[in-house]
């Protein structure tokens, strides 16, 4: 009764092949990643020290550290997300929880999805026109942060909507049935059960804001600017700043005779910061998901 027929043998063979292909493809993406990180780390090793992080670049960016671009990137990321997170999350809540399904809402949703796919250089041009020139902010941290905020906004809206939509509709109906308002329902049931997804969406945008060069190139980032070392408040809102992504571009392509370890060191700091923030996001998400109640 339980004998192995040729049909079963063939099924089992396909099962093994399928599994093998999936494992191979997964390794194919993991191995290069590990290789990239190791390679960067080895190349950057001679220069990695605390001084590298807290000293300005010197001698035409051929020596010294990355304090000025490092702090600039932190400014840009923090300010842009301070602008885009509240707007994006609240807009996402409106679109998912309040908006009626009519042509206007569908239009907005379509626009959000399409904006999320707009290349960053287009955002850069928009930022230059809207913030630097029209709003007369000049090339400044504020203008660059606003440009990054515009760039990250659609993705934050989309991921917020997705997180909210994952909360089953029946929970909302149960709340409405007992006389809760829409906001009470959102506040007590929907948000607590979607906050991990919302935060994940926001934090993923940290990497994007930190990594993009184009949007800040026209709007506030400069090739070189020395700032007081060790002062975390060295930049003002209307100052121009250096940024890690652009610094990396500059010293790898624009400046001759840069020691090899310098760009690799810059890359590893950029990558390391992003990985650190992503790791924090994972920890936070695991914590918040453990409080999820169904």
């Amino acid at each position: 009764m339980f004998t192995e027929t040729p049909f079963v043998r063939r099924k089992q063979m396909f099962e093994r092949i399928a599994r093998g292909v999936f494992v191979a493809m997964t390794s194919a993406i993991i191995l290069p990643l590990i290789f990239v990180i190791l390679y960067l780390f080895v190349k950057a090793f001679p220069i990695l020290s605390l001084d590298f992080l807290i000293k300005n670049p010197v001698r035409g960016m051929r020596a010294g550290g990355i304090w000025s671009p490092f702090l600039g990137t932190i400014y840009l990321v923090v300010i842009s997300l301070m602008i885009s997170t509240p707007i994006g999350v609240l807009a996402g809540i409106y679109l998912n929880e309040y908006a009626k399904d009519n042509w206007l809402t569908r239009g907005i949703n379509l626009a959000v999805v399409n904006l999320a796919g707009v290349p960053s250089i287009v955002h850069a041009l928009f930022g230059l026109g809207a913030f630097v020139l029209f709003a007369r902010l000049g090339r400044s941290i504020l203008a660059a942060s606003l440009t990054l905020a515009i760039m990250t906004l659609p993705v934050i809206i989309a991921s917020t909507k997705e997180a909210l939509a994952s909360v089953p509709m029946q929970f909302r109906e149960a709340c409405w049935n007992v006389g809760a308002t829409r906001w009470q329902t959102i506040r007590h049931i929907v948000l607590p059960n979607s906050i991990s997804g919302i935060l994940t969406g926001v934090i993923l945008q940290v990497s994007r804001a930190a990594g993009e060069t184009a949007p800040i190139m026209f709007t506030g980032a400069v090739f070189y600017k020395a700032i007081p070392e060790g002062n975390p408040f060295a930049y003002g809102l209307f100052d121009q700043c250096m940024a890690l992504s652009m610094h990396l571009f500059t010293i790898s392509t624009q400046v001759p005779d840069v020691p090899e370890a310098l760009p690799y060191g810059t890359a590893i700091v950029l990558l390391g910061s992003v990985l650190l923030i992503n790791a924090l996001a994972i920890v936070l998400r695991v914590y918040l998901r453990s409080k999820k109640k169904w």
Binding site: N102, F171, E173, A174, C175, V178, T181, K293
Partner: protein
């Protein structure tokens, strides 16, 4: 909760449309105070839609439009300003058990809290009373802090009933409450409903004909959005109801 003469619900020429589809095609009837009133009929006959009008949660379905008048305790729901108070007056239990992702205590305390009750003592009282009325207290009294969503289906349905009672409704509507739960729990809930009927008006929407027969005093038979027949159970479940279709549905010839 005091027994008073008059009607708990008065419905006149209620029509509900979803876009082009007419879900209720002009129904009129009254539900007396503190009676158990059953609505039977096959699916798609407009029974659940009717309940959504009673507590105006139909407002959340933007494509729905209703005309006609529906009065709860003499007050028309069409023009009511405080829909939240209306929804507290009409308790609804939905077909599939829904435990909110909160503790058992918080599930039952949710409605009073949303209505502004803060005192822990008062909330504890409500929680115990409602869980007892829903025949769930003995099973959960030692673990009120555990999650409502981890209870079994039958327990979650009783939790939903406790939640519907927590805002002290004068009318309790159950929409096919036994569709997803086991027969033993169904019988326990039916017993609980028998205890409640002296204090509260119960509207029992069901497609289990025998359940209507066991529990209700009067039964309405809905078909395709129309009220075919409404009468005392002795008539509806007799061999000679006024309408042939009622007889055929009740006796399982179609449906």
């Amino acid at each position: 909760m005091v027994s008073a003469p008059g009607n708990a619900i008065e419905i006149a020429d209620l029509r509900v449309r979803f876009g082009r589809v007419e879900a209720l095609k002009g129904v009129s009837f009254d539900v007396r105070r503190n009676e158990v009133f059953a609505i039977i009929g096959p699916s798609q006959s407009g029974k659940s839609t009717l309940l959504k009008v009673l507590n105006r949660t139909i407002d959340f379905m933007p494509e729905a439009r209703f005309t006609g008048t529906v009065k709860i305790d003499g007050e028309s729901v069409n023009t009511i300003k405080n829909v939240y108070e209306l929804r507290r007056k009409v308790g609804i239990v939905s077909p599939l058990p829904v435990g909110l992702p909160l503790s058992i205590f918080d599930n039952v305390a949710f409605a009073p809290r949303m209505a502004g009750v803060r005192s822990r003592g008062e909330l504890s009282e409500v929680v115990e009373r409602c869980l007892r009325q829903a025949a769930l207290w003995d099973e959960v009294k030692d673990r009120l802090d555990s999650l409502g969503t981890r209870l079994s289906g039958g327990q979650q349905q009783r939790l939903a009933i406790a939640r519907a009672l927590s805002h002290q409704p004068s009318i309790l509507c159950l929409d096919e409450f036994s569709i997803a739960i086991d027969p033993v729990t169904t019988m326990r809930i039916e017993e609980a409903l028998k205890d409640l009927r002296s204090q509260i008006t119960i509207v029992l929407v069901t497609n289990l004909v025998q359940q209507a027969r066991r529990l209700a005093e009067r039964t309405a038979f809905f078909l395709n959005g129309e009220l075919v027949e409404l009468d005392r159970n002795e008539v509806i479940f007799s061999d000679t109801p006024a309408d042939r279709q009622t007889y055929e549905y009740v006796n399982g010839i179609f449906g």
